[in-house]
């Protein structure tokens, strides 16, 4: 009798699992080649003082205005313009692949390949914790991921201080980024929420869409190799006095952008600012 009951119980458990399997959701397939569309923000780094669309705080704005492009002649500063968020901001496509553990085939990590000066990003999916806050910071940072339904959510920390835009608006080494990958048919939309209490008045939010490519994109690297470009180590850092940056009015002169918008004041990111400009 007992054996029959045990058999029946086991059968019920198996049956319930079997029935439930019909409702389990598959995660989106993100691997493959995703072509850049170039339909958003192609500019943004062509004019030295174009901080439109950035919610800078006073510290961030002042620091940005000190930036001189001549800093790229310094070996230790040559790669600052390509932080982890550049895969959302930049003009390049994404090549994404996964690495699996050999026995069960479970995904251990996803990698977004390097592209020219952009470092590769590894998204660890195996539940490992982020390292100590004292651990090394790199340009790519340290990223872990998890699935929320069909959406991959990635969390990046341990990024080196650099730029949030190539023209000098800074990002600190305390910056974090939460990225969501939404796949809809052959379109991949990436949402990035960048938090930096040191230089941003509020989180910077970016969305960028990519299209599944029929032809394979080949990640190219190695990313950002520094080289001597004429500025010797130990030389003074090229910079501007923030009150005397010669490019501060260039967006105003060229496009009629109000100075406070060109300088990344947070209130310029909301619709009412458009009405304010009308008045």
């Amino acid at each position: 009798m007992l054996r029959a009951l045990v058999t029946l119980g086991a059968a019920l458990v198996i049956a319930l699992l079997f029935a439930a399997s019909g409702t389990l959701r598959a995660e989106s397939e993100l691997t493959g080649s995703w072509a850049a569309l170039g339909s958003e923000d192609l500019a943004g780094d062509t004019i030295p003082v174009d901080y439109t669309g950035l919610p800078l705080n006073e510290e961030g704005r002042t620091r940005a205005l000190t930036y001189s492009e001549s800093q790229l002649g310094m070996i230790e500063r040559q790669c600052q313009g390509w932080p982890a968020f550049y895969f959302v901001q930049g003009p390049f496509g994404l090549k994404i692949w996964s690495d699996t553990e050999p026995v069960k085939g479970k995904v251990v990590s996803y990698t977004i390949g390097a592209w020219e000066d952009r470092a590769p990003m590894v998204i660890w999916m195996d539940g490992r914790p982020h390292p100590s806050k004292f651990a090394e910071h790199t340009r790519a940072g340290f990223t872990t991921g998890m699935w929320e339904g069909n959406t991959l959510v990635a969390s990046t920390t341990h990024m080196q201080a650099g730029f949030i835009r190539k023209t000098g608006p800074p990002s600190s080494d305390e910056t974090t980024m939460t990225t969501r990958f939404y796949r809809h048919d052959d379109v991949l939309t990436v949402l990035a929420v960048i938090e930096d209490a040191v230089y941003l008045a509020e989180p910077q939010i970016l969305t960028r869409s990519f299209q599944l490519s029929a032809t394979e994109l080949s990640p190219t690297g190695p990313p950002c190799i520094t080289t001597f470009e004429g500025t010797v180590i130990g030389a003074s850092t090229p910079h501007y006095n923030p009150d005397k940056n010669p490019f501060v009015d260039e967006m105003t002169k060229k496009y009629g952008v109000p100075r406070e918008a060109a300088l990344g004041y947070p209130e310029t990111l909301y619709p009412e600012y458009r009405l304010k400009m009308r008045r």
């Binding site: 598959a26 339909s39 400009m277």
Partner: protein, 242 residues
């Protein structure tokens, strides 16, 4: 020995029943109305957060500045011939507020359920209303309008809303006369995400197909922050002045 075959048969019977019965029950139960079946809550007030394409969205770009939009030769001809004065004439003032562009216009959205089968999206910029119908349209002959006819469906696995819009009047993808035609089809994907401080974001990915003026699909994604209430809601009619 005689018990074992009985137990095996019982197990097999239970497995089959467990697999079939839920499906039969599901098949006989009418699906819930779209409102009840919503995997995400899109209702409320949302404000555009203009962190991308600021110059193209907050200002009127110069004539012929259509970078980023994959216009074909005919589209470029039309954009290059843009006449700002003509936009001020009656009937033309809403051209930049049509369905292919309204989500890119800086403004606020108020999303509500008009009924169990229709999601209503009001935009204060241009005082426009879009109706996302989950049920098929009654009439097969749609009248063209700025917001066209939209059909919606929940994408349950992705916890998203997919909306397809047709029957549009010709309008502008950007305020400086970058055109889309009446042959345009817009497919939009609506996703939501949490933000720091218990906030919420709405992400709208728009895919614009226009065989008349575009060389390929124009795809942009826009994002909105959820607002606590409608205290900043401020409908403004269509205007040739931006």
């Amino acid at each position: 020995m005689t018990r074992r075959p009985t137990a095996i048969i019982l197990v097999i019977a239970l497995l089959i029943a467990a697999a079939i019965v839920p499906r039969v029950i599901r098949a006989q139960t009418p699906p819930p109305a779209p409102r009840a079946a919503a995997p995400i809550d899109l209702t409320g007030y949302w404000v555009a957060y203009v962190t991308e394409d600021w110059r193209f969205r907050m200002l009127v770009p110069p004539r012929g500045d259509y970078r980023g939009v994959p216009l074909n030769a005919q589209g470029r001809r039309v954009a290059d011939a843009w006449d700002p004065m003509a936009d001020a004439t009656p009937g033309n003032q809403c051209k930049p507020y049509g369905a292919a562009a309204i989500m890119r216009v800086p403004g606020r959205l108020h999303i509500t359920w008009q009924d169990d089968n229709t999601l209503r999206v009001d935009a204060d910029a241009g005082t426009q209303t879009r109706l996302f119908r989950f049920a098929p349209a009654v009439s097969t002959v749609a009248t063209r309008s700025w917001q066209g006819e939209s059909t919606a469906r929940w994408d349950q696995p992705n916890r998203a809303l997919t909306v397809t819009t047709k029957s549009l009047l010709p309008g502008y993808l950007r305020r400086n006369g970058v055109p889309y035609s009446e042959n345009t089809k817009v497919t939009e994907y609506f996703d939501v995400a949490p933000t720091p401080g218990n906030g919420q974001l709405l992400v709208v990915t728009a895919v614009v197909d226009d065989p008349t003026y575009l060389a390929r699909r124009f795809i942009v994604s826009s994002h909105f922050k959820k607002e606590r209430d409608g205290s900043k809601w401020s409908p403004i009619p269509c205007s040739a002045r931006w």
